[in-house]
């Protein structure tokens, strides 16, 4: 069988191969085009953009738009740049990702290795939370946050994102642990390890791939979220809201070069996460999905 496919692969020849690569490269360039436009225009003076070609390389190179976007641009009424909001986003995203991933791992562990009556129902309901649109929960969530005294604060945003993320992280870890042999847990029980010891010493060390999936998924979702940020952010709004306020301001001159720089700044962390951990992402998704 493999011999046959190899033969056809050889007989397609170099011309077909070259054609395939050409098409792939063209598509890649096409997809990279927006990034190119953003990159190029973020290092031009504004006059060059308004008076010239968006695609052209800058005749005068400048990092001024980046400096402005970062520290002096007018966001709403304050000329603070994106810097404080970037910090807000970090303060929100790191604990939210960590907490939701850990809770998801614990849920997956319990739902597969410490099964109880009605566990499939519990899992089904958690899964259901993945399909609830954000808009539906806005008002009830506002009430809850208000009662907890967390409205308009970073901890409030963390809570919202953890609650929303648990459904997904539980799904990932449950499917991953379902293919983990239960005999190992039993062996550890006989060896005298308790609930948390088994989790910490036996399961977590082999959970790398699925933890990466969970972290990437949660990071990009929480970092890119706008609706919860603008609704519950209050005085500690995240990067996405600030970027919106920067770009959508209806007074004054539209400083496109600053906007481009700001947009790249906002996209930068997720980009890094994908580049660093991207291949684990695919691997982990496969590992979790093959045996469900």
């Amino acid at each position: 069988m493999s011999g046959v496919t190899q033969d056809t692969a050889v007989s397609t020849g170099r011309i077909t191969r070259a054609f395939i690569y050409l098409v792939l490269i063209l598509f890649a360039l096409f997809y990279l085009l927006p990034l190119y436009v953003m990159g190029v225009n973020s290092v031009k003076p504004l006059a060059e953009i308004t008076g010239g070609n968006m695609m052209a390389l800058p005749s005068v190179w400048t990092l001024e738009p980046w400096r402005q976007a970062w520290s002096t641009a007018q966001i709403g009424v304050e000329p603070t740049g994106l810097r404080p909001y970037f910090l807000n986003s970090i303060l929100m995203v790191v604990p939210a990702v960590a907490i939701s991933t850990i809770i998801g791992a614990l849920n997956g562990y319990v739902l597969t290795k410490w099964r109880f009556r009605g566990d499939t129902w519990v899992f089904g309901l958690m899964l259901f939370s993945c399909f609830i649109p954000f808009q539906i929960v806005l008002i009830p969530m506002a009430v809850v946050l208000g009662k907890l005294g967390l409205a308009g604060s970073v901890p409030g945003l963390i809570l919202v994102h953890v609650v929303y993320g648990i459904g997904f992280t539980t799904l990932y870890f449950r499917n991953y642990y379902a293919s983990f042999p239960t005999e190992l847990v039993r062996a550890a029980m006989i060896d005298g390890a308790g609930f948390f010891r088994i989790f910490w010493r036996i399961l977590l060390p082999v959970s790398g791939p699925i933890a990466v999936v969970s972290v990437i998924w949660q990071f990009s979702n929480i970092w890119n979220d706008f609706l919860f940020g603008v609704s519950f952010g209050g005085t500690s709004q995240p990067m996405t809201v600030a970027l919106n306020n920067l770009v959508q301001s209806s007074t004054g001159v539209k400083e496109y070069n600053v906007h481009f720089a700001g947009a790249i700044l906002a996209a930068f962390p997720t980009l890094i996460v994908y580049i660093v951990a991207g291949r684990y992402f695919v691997r982990g998704l496969m590992a979790g999905s093959v045996k469900g």
Binding site: E183, L184, R186, A187, I190, D191, G192, R197, R201, I202
Partner: protein, 370 residues
């Protein structure tokens, strides 16, 4: 009271009862094998001894201490799993000492126990490897080592050899037997392989459908099976069971059978108590090795009966030649010496060792003689 007592233990899942009043006493140093087909409840019983499954009724006691509801780690038992269940992220050494570590044994003591067991099992050169880098046989050794290091009261083995290839399985079987002879530990061992059961055990419990069919030494199980199920399950090829009836001739009970050509023949029993069954139907059980060529017959037997019959099929197996032929309308197997001059279609004079014959009641299928 034994070392490990299983007293009237039952197990139910909802309304389905999977184990029925199992009652076994295991003495210290015994090697008890639970054998039976899949679904007979043998692994469930083992898991109940381990504490991995709850007990629905009855009691399990180790060293006189009732274990119902006691956590697995507090029963002083160790278990070897079918899949070995080695922790993939730990080295062999860490795998073996994990249990001691969890029980708070100090490091120098753990290292000493590890070194002793590793030497005993000849795995001292593997201690720094991960389980993924080991072969099947090595993993099996590590799994046993992990159990040995704990120095438990009772060892539990759950089909430990069934993941190995045929040759390695035989080697490891001998290895386990040697280990038991050396350490004299109490072992409960689950298998579906009757040869493993026969070779390893000091006592066997043959199980079927949640009942213990017979509990006894390998010899008892083999020569005096309690019923037709045990008779046919233990032994390979299986015991021949043919319908027959009893007739008295000169005060000796005989079994009436018909040969392949339809002629009626009488085989003299060695069991006088079958006189009570005169004129009644029975099931006659004869092991394949009790039907041989005359030169291969057991010289020590006091009751060799000649039987001429037409040979159906011959199967030379190297060490023996198996002959299949019709007897009382059933296909039966005879075990001849390898070079016995026997050809298909030929009428051959067989020698039947009736001293080893077993008779069963055809309605209850229980043994009636010997």
């Amino acid at each position: 009271m034994g070392f490990l007592d299983i007293r009237n233990v039952t197990k139910s899942y909802g309304s389905v009862q999977v184990l029925h009043e199992v009652d076994i006493e295991v003495e210290e140093g015994e090697f008890l094998v639970l054998v039976g087909p899949s679904g007979c409840g043998k692994s469930t019983l083992l898991n109940m001894i381990a504490g991995l499954e709850g007990i629905s009724g009855g009691e399990i006691a180790i060293k006189g201490r009732v274990m119902n509801g006691v956590h697995p780690s507090k029963r002083n038992i160790a278990m070897v799993f079918q899949s070995y269940a080695l922790y993939p992220n730990m080295t062999v050494g860490q795998n073996m000492t994990f249990g001691l570590e969890m029980h708070g044994v100090p490091k120098p003591e753990r290292d000493r126990a590890l070194a002793d067991v590793a030497k005993l099992l000849q795995i001292d050169h593997l201690l720094d490897r991960k389980p993924g880098q080991l072969s099947g046989g090595q993993r099996q050794r590590v799994a046993m080592g992990r159990a040995l290091v704990r120095n438990p009261d009772v060892f539990l083995f759950d089909e430990p050899l069934s993941n190995l290839d045929a040759k390695l399985r035989v080697d490891m079987r001998t290895e386990i037997k040697k280990l038991h002879q050396k350490l004299r530990t109490t072992i409960v061992y689950v298998t579906h392989d009757q040869i493993e059961a026969m070779t390893l055990s000091t006592r066997i419990a043959v199980m079927n459908k949640g009942y213990v069919q017979q509990l006894g030494t390998p010899k008892e199980i083999y020569y005096t099976p309690a019923n037709v199920y045990v008779a046919t399950f233990m032994g390979s090829p299986a015991m021949n069971i043919v319908p027959s009836s009893v007739v008295m001739q000169g005060g000796v009970p005989h079994a009436i059978i018909t040969d392949a050509d339809g002629a009626v023949k009488h085989l003299a029993f060695s069991q006088p108590n079958l006189a009570a069954w005169e004129g009644k139907p029975i099931l006659l059980g004869i092991r394949p090795e009790a039907i041989t060529d005359p030169e291969g017959a057991d010289r020590k037997s006091g009751n060799i009966v000649a039987l001429s019959n037409r040979v159906g099929v011959t199967e030379p197996a190297g060490s023996d030649t198996f002959v299949t032929m019709a007897l009382s309308g059933k296909d039966i197997t005879a075990r001849m010496r390898a070079d016995a001059a026997v050809a298909p279609g030929q009428v051959f004079d067989f020698a039947v060792n009736m001293e080893k014959a077993v008779a069963f009641d055809p309605t209850t299928e229980e043994r009636i003689a010997p």
